[in-house]
């Protein structure tokens, strides 16, 4: 379970996260949804230790995630844009990531097989296309069978077949009790993977609710349309 409390982050004079707090537990897939610049990526980066919040705390099963880098061995992360050393080969990337982890950690190579990583194992990273690199990033995120899986815009640049494979994998892992955290602007992609929606506006949490509940309330509206309506409502609210 991940608990974030009171996270505030300023970039210069701009307040990106404002007393943001949310609790996420295993077996659910959370989608971070909000307008551009609402702090989605910043929150993910705070969770991963890439951005250091000005105040607030994040705990993973009660342990302080921000001050204990070792805990990150339980998190798998797929970045929006994966860039790797030019001359590193695909197989070497996985070797290196393995070396940086405790050797006792279990390996999950299911996705590597679905994405046929063995075929490109000897290729240098710089020769890979954007989509192939995304597939490598996805495999890396699931490679250590992590308890928490964070995917930042996972479907961007992937072909339809790969998107389906990834969706299936995400759902399977969630059913196995993993905690999944997603962002994407392609809400139709998210819809098939999400169980809960975290809606944030201007760095503040609006709500965190199960998607089934939201659907019921709106009479079965599609997620994309529903969220667009909520965002418009929120912006008229803040203007009035």
């Amino acid at each position: 379970m991940i608990t974030a409390t009171g996270i505030t982050k300023n970039f210069g004079r701009l307040r990106v996260l404002d007393d943001f707090g949310v609790t996420m537990s295993g077996g659910h897939a959370f989608s971070l949804i909000g307008p551009n610049g609402s702090g989605k990526t910043t929150f993910i980066k705070c969770l991963l230790g890439t951005v250091i919040p000005d105040s607030g705390s994040v705990t993973l099963d009660g342990a302080d995630l921000l001050r204990t880098p070792e805990l990150r061995s339980r998190i798998g992360y797929m970045p929006q844009i994966g860039r790797y050393p030019d001359n590193m080969r695909v197989a070497q990337l996985f070797d290196m990531l393995s070396e940086l982890r405790p050797s006792s950690q279990k390996r999950d190579e299911e996705l590597m097989e679905s994405f046929d990583m063995r075929r490109i194992a000897d290729k240098p990273m710089r020769t890979l296309s954007g989509g192939t690199r995304q597939r490598v990033s996805a495999c890396a995120a699931f490679f250590f069978d992590p308890q928490v899986i964070v995917l930042d815009e996972p479907t961007a640049g992937l072909d339809p077949v790969s998107v389906e494979i990834l969706k299936e994998k995400v759902n399977a892992e969630r059913r196995r009790g993993k905690l999944v955290l997603l962002t994407s602007h392609i809400l139709s992609d998210l819809e098939d993977m999400t169980t809960d929606v975290i809606f944030l506006i201007e760095g503040r949490l609006r709500f965190c609710r199960p998607i089934t509940e939201l659907r019921e309330e709106s009479g079965g509206e599609r997620l994309g349309r529903l969220m667009a309506r909520l965002m418009r409502e929120a912006s008229t609210h803040s203007e009035s």
Partner: protein, 256 residues
Amino acid sequence: MMLKIVKHVLLDILRSRVVLAYTVFLAAASIGLFNMDADTGKSLASILSMVLMLVPLTSLIFATIHYYNSYEFIELLSTQPLRRSTILRGEYLGVSLALSLALLVGVGLPVAAYDGSLTGGCILLAGLLLTFSFTALAFLGAVCSRDKARGMGVAMLQWFFFALLYDGILLLVLFTFQDYPLEKAVIALLALNPIDLARTFVMLQMDVSALMGMTGAVMEEFFGSGLGMALTLSVLVVWILAPLGLAVRLFKKKDL
């Protein structure tokens, strides 16, 4: 853990052609300089000048470019179970070791083959320390500046300052205050520039105080060759540890 990062950074750099080109250039220049003059002493002096100019420049530019090109990878590493300090030190050591290797092959081998004297060894040692020092300065500049263009500007400025401007300022100070006893001030001013330190270190070994101008003469008079060399070496090490330490401290608090 850090050594694993060093290994991968080093292997990645060695597979690129840039460091190979640097090695070949150094080797060609060194061999050329040895063949130009029958007196190896004169050749060594030329090689020293080349090392003092080229090593800081290459280290600054290469390390800065490497840092910005590895930015996303560093970001990825920071999401792994690693301390920030481990990541930056690993990257730093990888880059400086790669450049050191180029220097050892490109200058070290020709010097050993043609000359083999202690002076050659001292030039090599000075070059290695300069590599480590200016790579650290490059990392410090890169950690401080968010975008690549500014980072490159900082790197170029550092080279311009330490390699060219500083000696001019030093001369100006000496000329302005020539009526006063300046020995101690000169030593202090010398310690503020790693390139001057490296030059003095080698010249003290060559024991040609008459040729090394005021700073060297003062050093020799004050400390004698042995102590002077030990002192210049230790201050050079400070010029490695201080910028690196500062860079690591800033990097720990940095948003990637």
